[in-house]
């Protein structure tokens, strides 16, 4: 899983939620910049589960950038593959 694929999936999910593509950068913050509410945050998690097969919970104390979410995706996938092997 490379970062680009995770980022494409994440951006696709956010665009489906109605977020303009031009407002999505790796440094874009989920809460501060995109002002996602709790239902939308859940939709992002569910979207990641569907598209990439990962369980990533995005309810965190600190706001996350899209790049940081992609890292969480990669970590989750890496953990899953280690458990399988």
């Amino acid at each position: 899983m490379d970062t680009l694929r995770a980022m494409d999936a994440l951006k696709g999910i956010l665009i489906d939620l109605g977020i303009p593509a031009e407002s999505l950068d790796p440094d874009t913050l989920l809460y501060k910049d995109l002002q996602l509410d709790s239902t939308e945050i859940v939709e992002v998690s569910l979207g990641l589960k569907r598209r990439l097969g990962v369980n990533v919970k995005l309810e965190t104390q600190q706001d996350r950038t899209l790049a940081q979410v992609c890292e969480m995706v990669k970590t989750s996938l890496s953990t899953s593959s280690q458990q399988v092997s």
Binding site: S38, L46, K49, R50, K57, E59, T60, Q61
Partner: protein, 152 residues
């Protein structure tokens, strides 16, 4: 002694869209197997799911931390069957729910009880805070669900 208070208002339409978009396996990220099973046999499944979702949010707020570090499935809403999702204006046991139109909104005067069950980290967090009991109610208002929880 009150240990926490949480309120959440959730749009039924938004949860409906979410539930209809994802299959059961995906929804297990959010809901327990019991919640999904009961929703599927409920008279109004989307309302049922919305109550469950809002309950989890409200419990998170009562903790003062939101759902940080807590899985969505670690908080379960148990809606009593005898008060479950009957139509507005109909009797529910010996209570009568009034159907009023006020400023274009339909709303129920009385709240419905529900129970909260915690698992895993949510249960641990409640114990750490000395929470012995959860009191919770929900009501249906203007296509939204409001859940109110009190941790004591």
């Amino acid at each position: 002694m009150v240990k926490g208070l949480g309120i959440d208002i959730t749009s039924i339409e938004r949860i409906t869209q979410l539930v209809e978009r994802y299959d059961r396996e995906a929804l297990t990220f959010l809901f327990t197997a019991e919640e999904i099973n009961r929703a599927q046999t409920a008279n109004h499944p989307h309302l049922f799911y919305t109550v469950c979702f809002a309950s989890k949010e409200a419990v998170g707020k009562a903790f003062g931390t939101g759902l940080v570090g807590i899985g969505w499935q670690e908080i379960e809403a148990i809606i009593p069957e005898n008060c479950e999702l009957r139509e507005i204006g109909k009797n529910c046991n010996d209570k009568v729910y009034l159907d009023q139109v006020l400023d274009g909104f339909k709303w129920e005067q009385s709240g419905h009880k529900l129970a909260i069950r915690l698992y895993g980290e949510a249960s641990i967090r409640a114990k750490q805070r000395g929470v012995k009991e959860w009191l919770a109610t929900w009501c249906h208002w203007n296509e939204h669900v409001l859940v109110h929880v009190l941790a004591q």
